[in-house]
């Protein structure tokens, strides 16, 4: 509509020889850019600028209230020889492995069950499976903190019924990682299962019927039909959980305390970054951690993409 009007105006004005008008295609281009500019302006200010500024700060030493001191690559050098950083890397990967791999399998199984025809009350189950995802991270962490308590925790109470002694969850590496991983699994298994469910529902039923006629068992159908057909979704969830899982922060901070615990057992990379910036006021060092974290996430995501690509494709 609008372009027709503009076209008419353009035609009338070219009749007066002095006035110069833009070509219609140029006007289209300009209005197109104007329409998408609000998002990009905001993204530029709140997205791109902080990223670039962080890179800039990572070459300085700065305590935010004082002056900036240019130190070149010193922060990165310190980072690679910093045992705490490597420990936080190990912690993050350990928590990721314990939380993501079982979680995605569980999500797939839950989605498979939810997809069955015989299940009554599907809507209710789908809703309740997704519910943990919308709860407050801090509230959940506080409650799990109590569940995993050393002397009065519910979990230790149940274990004591089986004769297992009180486990000091907070005081050991594995205990802390399992506790934090449990919180992550609890929160995200519903989310991933709903995604898998939508993928499962898009698989045409006649494939299964044809396979049953051909004599394939349920297991064979699962591996030969289901998995290849939802492969894109699997790749999607793996990448998403990689990116999210490497940045775990709130659960670790509340469970292990601000410093990651006496052994730094709960110190994830993001928690280390936060500590360096807001507790020790070493913003330059924290910025270098941020950028190295980014690189690690990119590399790890590419690695996971490579692995999941090896699932037989449906084509």
């Amino acid at each position: 509509m609008a372009s027709n009007l503009e076209l008419n105006k353009g035609q009338t004005s070219t009749q007066t020889p002095v006035k110069k008008t833009l070509k219609q295609s140029t006007k289209d281009h300009i209005s197109g850019y104007l329409y998408i500019s609000p998002f990009f302006i905001l993204f530029g200010i709140f997205g791109v600028f902080p990223i670039v500024f962080t890179a800039f700060i990572s070459f300085h030493k700065w305590d935010i209230l004082g002056t900036r001191e240019f130190v070149g690559f010193r922060n990165y050098q310190l980072l690679f020889t910093d045992p705490l950083f490597w420990k936080s890397l190990g912690n993050t990967f350990s928590i990721w492995v314990i939380s993501t791999i079982p979680q995605l399998f569980m999500a797939l199984i839950i989605a498979f069950v939810l997809n069955q025809a015989f299940l009554k009350g599907k809507q209710f189950f789908r809703l309740s499976v997704f519910l943990p995802n919308i709860t407050s991270v801090v509230a959940v962490a506080i409650i799990f903190d109590s569940i995993f308590g050393h002397h009065y925790g519910i979990l230790n109470y149940f274990l004591s019924i089986f004769g297992i002694e009180n486990i000091n969850w907070k005081g050991t590496y594995l205990g802390t990682h399992i506790a934090i991983a449990t919180m992550v699994i609890w929160r995200w298994v519903g989310y991933n299962s709903i995604i898998y469910l939508s993928a499962l529902q898009s698989i045409p039923k006649d494939l299964y019927e044809a396979a049953t006629i051909d004599g394939a068992s349920k297991m064979q159908q699962f591996f030969m039909i289901t998995i290849p057909m939802i492969r894109p979704m699997i790749i999607f969830t793996v990448i998403l959980s990689t990116i999210g899982g490497m940045q775990i922060f709130a659960e670790a901070q509340i469970f292990s305390g601000a410093g990651g615990g006496a052994l730094d057992q709960g110190l994830t990379m993001t928690l280390y970054l936060y500590e360096e910036a807001f507790v020790r006021n070493a913003f330059g060092y924290a910025s270098s951690i941020a950028w190295v974290l980014f690189l690690i996430i990119v590399l790890f995501s590419l690695f996971n993409l490579f692995l999941t690509n090896r699932i037989k494709s449906a084509e």
Binding site: M1, L5, K61, D63, I64, L65, G66, N75, L78, D82, L84, D145, S146, G149, H150, H151, Y152, G153, N168, K170, G171, T172, G257, G259, G261, A262, L263, E276, F278, V279, R280, N281, A282, G284, Y285
Partner: protein, 428 residues
Amino acid sequence: MKKFKLHKVVLVFVSILLLIGVVACSSDESSGETETKDGKVKLTVWLWTGMGIDDQIKQYAEENNIEVDIQIAEFADVHTNLTTALAAGSGAPDISAVEVKGIEKMKANPQHFHNLLDLGADEISGDYLDWKWKQAMTPDGKHLLGLPTDIGPQAMAYRVDVFEEAGLPTDREEVAELIKTWDDFIRVGEEIKAKTGKAMIDTPTGLYSVIEGQANEKYYDAEGNIIVKDNAQIKKAYDYAMEVIEKGLTPGYEQWSTEWSTGMANADYATILTPAWMQQNIMNNAPDAAGLWDVTALPEGSGNWGGSFLTIPKESKHPEEAYKLIKWLLSPEQQLVTFEKFGNFPSTPAIYDSEAIQNHTNEYFNNAPVGQIFSEAALQVKEIQEGPDSIQIETFMTDAVTRVMDGQAEPEDSWNTALENIDRQLNR
């Protein structure tokens, strides 16, 4: 054509409405407004929840014809917001509360605050406890960042029923006589463990934090060097913490966790080294244990935990007015009022002899004369040189204690790791 024109008009109308909405909804934040329309001075004050001084501030504002805008946020947020506002160069209030943990960091950058000495603060320095006054002063003594609000002098809260079960005296004077040194403390702990099976203290880190503060120097010397390695008092504090762990005298609860609160109610431990403000926490966590707790003095001196200041950031356009407000609010008379209303322990020794404080007892603690006990403790707190990284060093040292508590390290190794951490992490 007509249909299209109407569409266009509606579009323009809606976008104007949105624009008005955006403009109208932005409240005029304090950073722009420092005077109200009739020329009255307007001061912005940042406090955290539970400080208890809002009413008195409003009273002052009414009596002195100024306006105050009190903005209350969470404790940690106040400090973060203040740091951000100071770094950004705008948005800081006229008066901000800063706790003793935060003041150390601020002292490293005193240029962000008005120097209260320039506003006449040395006239009133005599009203306040020396060690508290020094906490807000830069090491060279030239720049005062804030006036003291309350303090947290420490005493020993003990379970009367546990002491009785162990056949020990329960009267607070007798307990103070019984436990005059930390060796006595350990000996009594062993007795209690033998006769009742209960632990002596909630956590070894609590013990460590008190003993380390009982000498003249802690983490820094007068020149600002870190002296953790060579300071005998710190080693002493650490060693006592180790002894308490080895002899099984503590269950190692994390303070402020839900288990710690449960332990309070169940008498899992016989003593807590408690600052004045923690009385409220004990009362709230273990309401059924009223009358079973009592309070007496700490062995070998006293300690302080917490306490805050009111500062005037440099961005304030009315430093004189702000100074007058905080001078009034934190004067001995007004601190007495705050104490009577909320129990915040005053930092002005002149009123310690007042009836209100001397006669203040706490029914929950077996009617102990807590006003007297804590004021005596307050007068005994040693003046200790702190530094910008004191909090970090404290964390490293208490982590060392916790590691041994959790059975994850030997005392010697844990100590060495702590020293290594201090060297490495604080040089960035």
